[in-house]
Symmetry: C2
Amino acid sequence: MTRHVYRFGGGQADGHADLRDLLGGKGANLAEMNGLGLPVPPGFTITTAVCSHCQAHDGSYPEGLEKEVEQALEAVEAMTETEFGDPVRPLLVSVRSGAAASMPGMLDTVLNLGLNDATREGLAASSGDARFAADSHRRFIQMYGNVVLGVSHRMFEDVLDEVKFAKGAELDTDLSAGDWLAVIERYRALVLDETGEPFPEDPRAQLWGAVGAVFGSWSNARAVTYRELHGLDHAGGTAVNVQAMVFGNMGEDSCTGVAFTRDPSTGEPSYYGEFLPNAQGEDVVAGIRTPRPLTAGAVVDAEAPPMEVAMPAVYAELTAAFTRLETHYRDMQDIEFTVQKGKLWILQTRNGKRSTKAALRIAVDLANQGVISRAEAIRRIEPERLDQLLHPTLDPAAHTRVIVRGLPASPGAASGIAVFSADEAERRGSAGEDVVLVRSETSPEDIHGMHAARGILTNRGGQTSHAAVVARGMGRPCVVGAGELVINHDTRSAKALSSSFAEGDLITIDGSTGAVMLGKVPTISPELPDAFHELMGWADSIRTLRIRANAETPVDAETARRFGAEGIGLCRTEHMFFDGERILAMRQMIMAENAEERRAALARIAPMQRQDFVELFRIMAGWPVTIRLLDPPLHEFLPANLDELGEVAARAGLDAEALRRRATELAEANPMLGHRGARLGISYPEIYDMQVQAIFEALHETADAPVELEIMLPLVFSRTEVNVLRSRIAHVAEAVTAATGWTPSYTVGTMIELPRAALAAGSIAESAEFFSFGTNDLTQTTFGISRDDAGRFLAGYLDAGVFAVDPFVSLDAEGVGELIQIAAARGRAARPDLKLGICGEHGGDPASVAHCHAWGLDYVSCSPYRVPIARLAAARAAVESRDGTPDSAD
Amino acid sequence: MTRHVYRFGGGQADGHADLRDLLGGKGANLAEMNGLGLPVPPGFTITTAVCSHCQAHDGSYPEGLEKEVEQALEAVEAMTETEFGDPVRPLLVSVRSGAAASMPGMLDTVLNLGLNDATREGLAASSGDARFAADSHRRFIQMYGNVVLGVSHRMFEDVLDEVKFAKGAELDTDLSAGDWLAVIERYRALVLDETGEPFPEDPRAQLWGAVGAVFGSWSNARAVTYRELHGLDHAGGTAVNVQAMVFGNMGEDSCTGVAFTRDPSTGEPSYYGEFLPNAQGEDVVAGIRTPRPLTAGAVVDAEAPPMEVAMPAVYAELTAAFTRLETHYRDMQDIEFTVQKGKLWILQTRNGKRSTKAALRIAVDLANQGVISRAEAIRRIEPERLDQLLHPTLDPAAHTRVIVRGLPASPGAASGIAVFSADEAERRGSAGEDVVLVRSETSPEDIHGMHAARGILTNRGGQTSHAAVVARGMGRPCVVGAGELVINHDTRSAKALSSSFAEGDLITIDGSTGAVMLGKVPTISPELPDAFHELMGWADSIRTLRIRANAETPVDAETARRFGAEGIGLCRTEHMFFDGERILAMRQMIMAENAEERRAALARIAPMQRQDFVELFRIMAGWPVTIRLLDPPLHEFLPANLDELGEVAARAGLDAEALRRRATELAEANPMLGHRGARLGISYPEIYDMQVQAIFEALHETADAPVELEIMLPLVFSRTEVNVLRSRIAHVAEAVTAATGWTPSYTVGTMIELPRAALAAGSIAESAEFFSFGTNDLTQTTFGISRDDAGRFLAGYLDAGVFAVDPFVSLDAEGVGELIQIAAARGRAARPDLKLGICGEHGGDPASVAHCHAWGLDYVSCSPYRVPIARLAAARAAVESRDGTPDSAD
């Protein structure tokens, strides 16, 4: 005979986790917890097969079901020493649906089933709380009346409001036991009115009514639609779970509580939780009584002793359950429990939510205990979560008043005096002041000010605007697009809706939330816990992808090394041309009439550029350093605003009119696709000559502990460009050797950032020793989307489902990814030892890092502050490509 | 025994064309002409094997060579009835090098070898011209002295200058026979001085000296370098050709002349040429005597009868040779001949240069005569050459004064009064005046003025600037980038270096040469010869690629049909939004605050747009018409110059400040990669809704003779975009059906103009019924080059060999082409009947058309004026893919 009812309770169960199809998810889980020997309130599951039978037979049950239910009920009665319908020791049950796949739309839960006037008295007596019993009763009628009998919830609420109004009561808690009894009477009248039938008083009638309603709900419109949308089988059916109610308010030997098996904010392996004696869960929620701790801390409050002291036996049983649960689920658990008359019942357990710090500690501890593998520990931490450990955060205890909100563009909090120009930022910053740079938007000529500032605030642009990208690269907190802030650069002040500030005023920004505050809000410095270092060590030993950083300043390079970068994957030399003297020389170079004049202007920059490289090389001694030759179009070095030209011209000793003419001449319709990168190198060979010479001279100066030098050509699309430029590099190298007698060791490679370059990778690789995929530009050209202009339609494209995710944030595997794979395959076919990496924003995105691992790249390079994230992401990718994706992460 | 010497002459030859490796190119060709029975001056070839032997044996000749040469010389003497070294009837010869592959750097030619004091007298006697004989002698010494004996050419010239100075002579022709004899003496003294040896007087010594010099020149530095650069074999060696000299100045039964076997300017099948009795070739060049015609025209000048009359027997022999040559070479020949004492000698024959008109006529005639196949006739015409037939040209007889030159940007000549604004062009144009629009540069808002003008002139931009591209599309003559022209739009005048003109002055431009002239220069209207139509008919029957046109105006559509376009492949609807009223409504639409206001503004454009389509559909009845929905970013519809905003605002009834704000808001960093195409359609669905409705209504109105409607979505990169937009199109179609009871028949397809679209073509094709490759944008995104900005480095890239040809002119087969092939393959795999075409500038480029044929596309679409070129190019591609590429085209 087919079994229709599976019992569980007393640490045993008829079913087990694998019977999910038959018992539904909830039923299988209850069986599993019982199988662990945990004290779960007993009950039984009516199988999904019964549901299918009902569907097929006009709602009639299979033969023998009633008897099986009756026997299962008896077993529950025996285990709980109660009886269904008994007025003294009444058994109350919950009835819940539960299909194999979770599904909204079906009948959810009926609690306290079994209550009627008689059993309510029993509940009142055993709990010593008539009001509680009456409230439970009226709740049951309301819930049952609604979900089983179909009476509108609103109608019950109206009745309740009327009674409260009549009593002059504001809150439910203002009503007495007697009041609730009156509500019960009126509820019953309502049900009779609405359904034409009296509310069922017989517990068995209540039970079968609820069971029928659960099965019926399988076919209601919402559930059917849901299954259709999600391609689920209509034949599957739902199971019905019937489980004994337990109560923590049955006297001083009863209680209710919640517990974490470890500290969810620190991850320390100490029980963490609280309980309320002689109380129901609602009492905890209501906050009327103060819960007590589970364990004895340094001091024990004698008036309100911890559970460890107050109920030592039950406490021992509870902590034994903790261990069993952690061992079984191999993770920190968040547990709800109730003690009814000295008997412990575990109501629910699940993996507990935790802070990042705790997540690290727990994963590392579990691995060290041998509960999980190191690989599993790595898999437990979402790399993105590390970000919050790496930046200062606002002190949560501090009082804050947010005057305006923008977009969170670069995480961390920063306070400082507001300044409205990059020059002022640099002036005050180098004088030792903490400044926050406030600009409408930023451009490359603001870089020195951004470096000098603690944080950056703009009222324009999105999360991929210049300010955002550069700030993330520098690890500076940044808020962008605070549109309600009106910035006046003339008066050097800014106005929000209800507040304003001027240059010199202290402000605070939170780049993790986008909040802008007046004054200095205390912040907490990031402190990397031991578990972080331990886990990152494991990650490093497991990953195969190397992680480098994008850096050009000594500060960034040092940050990168501190965070574990294995060299520099992208040193953007143009960032070295904006500071002080250099921008003047750069502008003279741009204004030069011929190569001779250009060379003269460049000669003034050369020693500074060489010194930059010397510093960088010292920090990165022994590691690879990829230096990209000048990339941006020349007009980026002229003031963006033509109005500023006069001032600039005066400072640079140039003719304003000539400068204006040159600026107009250099202006481009689409600078992204303009005269930049290798195109500059071919048009003005003297620029790259100067850079390459400075690089070689710096390498010579640091020859005692040299870096592994890689010279990178930007924006090429053909082998010929590489040939032309690398022969000039060789020429400079020969000249340096001739002058010094020392021969530089270096390789030459290219950015692959144009579709044409990816397609021509086979021939390019014949002349290039490495490729670095410039995924920012490659994404721009592959999609034909300018990152600077995408803001206007990106949101719409995400809404319309054209993008699942912003392709500038996470690599487009289908399109851009195919080009990367084509280039990698063709490049390696031509040159088997070709080194492959990516640089750009995607290098710090965990999903993109996983792709790079899968595509067989050698390294990714990202902002210094993203290095730990990339290291962990690379390790996860290695684990997952080895072990497969886990069923459930974290 | 190996033969070292191959003889030819008297209509016979030892060798033939296939012995190229042994006889060299020149020797093999001489053998071939003899093989045809043509009267070629006799001679012999010393093989390349002899050269190799010399190389290997320190310059010594193989055994028996001298004897073979002696015998060959005797044969020549016999045929020419002369004798080498004979003072009465001296044999003179030329000596030339000739390797298998032509190669600069080797000894070229020694003429009149065999002359000395004795033989010179014989020459003087037989020619009756002592001065000629002496001049020939001194030329021989000079040539031999230089190339064989290594005396500097300069030194001989110095001697000549001294003699001329002493005689007070200015020109060589001022010198008498006696003077030349003096020069000869001084030349001999010079050679003795310089070489230490007297100049060789013995003809045999001269001959062996020359032969040795030819073989030696195989190893000179220039020839060696050339072979290394071109990967030629150093072992190959050169042959030496020794050929009898013949003279046309040996009396009245002698002459010299040139002839074309057909008329090289019209292609008519009548002999065309001239001759000079008793003269050498130099006399023709010197222009002292007037040559006479070969054939008798309407009138015969009795004083100077044509050759047909003067020398009927030789004339008959000559014309017989014409026929033999044309039959053999299967093409019109350009022939040099000499008659020496009544004996005809053919000196040279080659395929004759001809005008395009003649080329067509000749190819068609030859095919109709069965000399060549129709396929070969097609192969004979470079499609690009047709361009000059399709546009008006300046009357060559007219007097012109060019005041400034720009770049030729769109072919044809045009005269009209200069106007300096698009509005003025439209006003005067619609009043019936011919105008030439003069602007610094043009932008989309000038389109109506460009339409109204006969020609366009700018002083900025290159051949792919807006003005150039649009003018070519419209078939308007256009000169761009006339940088020396200073245009003042305020005073409405322009100033060149030495002239100026103002609004209302007549000017003429020649878009084929870039010339700008004052006044009205007479032009000749294009007249398509019958042969053009006949050849195009053959082309149409042979080609498999369909040819459509890019057109949006009725004028363009009619031009396209007249030139044989098989439908419209690209109707750019944005061009319809710039005229008069529409731009105002468009600007109101752009200023609208919400969809409602946008719809109201669009409703004003709708009836005009519908009418546009009605006209287009009537012209194209029965043909496919691809309509591209709005593509450019909205800011293109606002004035490019912010200064003009006030005026524009006033005219449109808009608030100037609001308009300025909106313009700033819409401004883009990289408009090419901005908010345009499908992105606009998704952001502002009401724009496409209006367009689609107008299209369907127009289709309804022309339902009696409908076009094959194809609606095209621009700038997509994913199937989702297509799905979103095509469901809206379906929605509009349903609404039209609901309103009219008529159901539109249409297909929906996409531009493939982004690398991402090409890669995602498989999934896009599931939702698109056709692809049109937008090769302009695809080239921009694949290379990462903005066409508008490329001018600054394009020339440098062509110089450096990065580009073999501008990729915006001719498709980049390697990169862009691979993307096209990927998209075609994936698209057809997903949808086997997917229609594939290209639109854009490349559609009219013959090389690109050939690629499209090879890649299996269904059609190309190009400017109306390029349609014949594309038809012919498609036919050539079909022929060549069938028959292979010919050895020599045209």
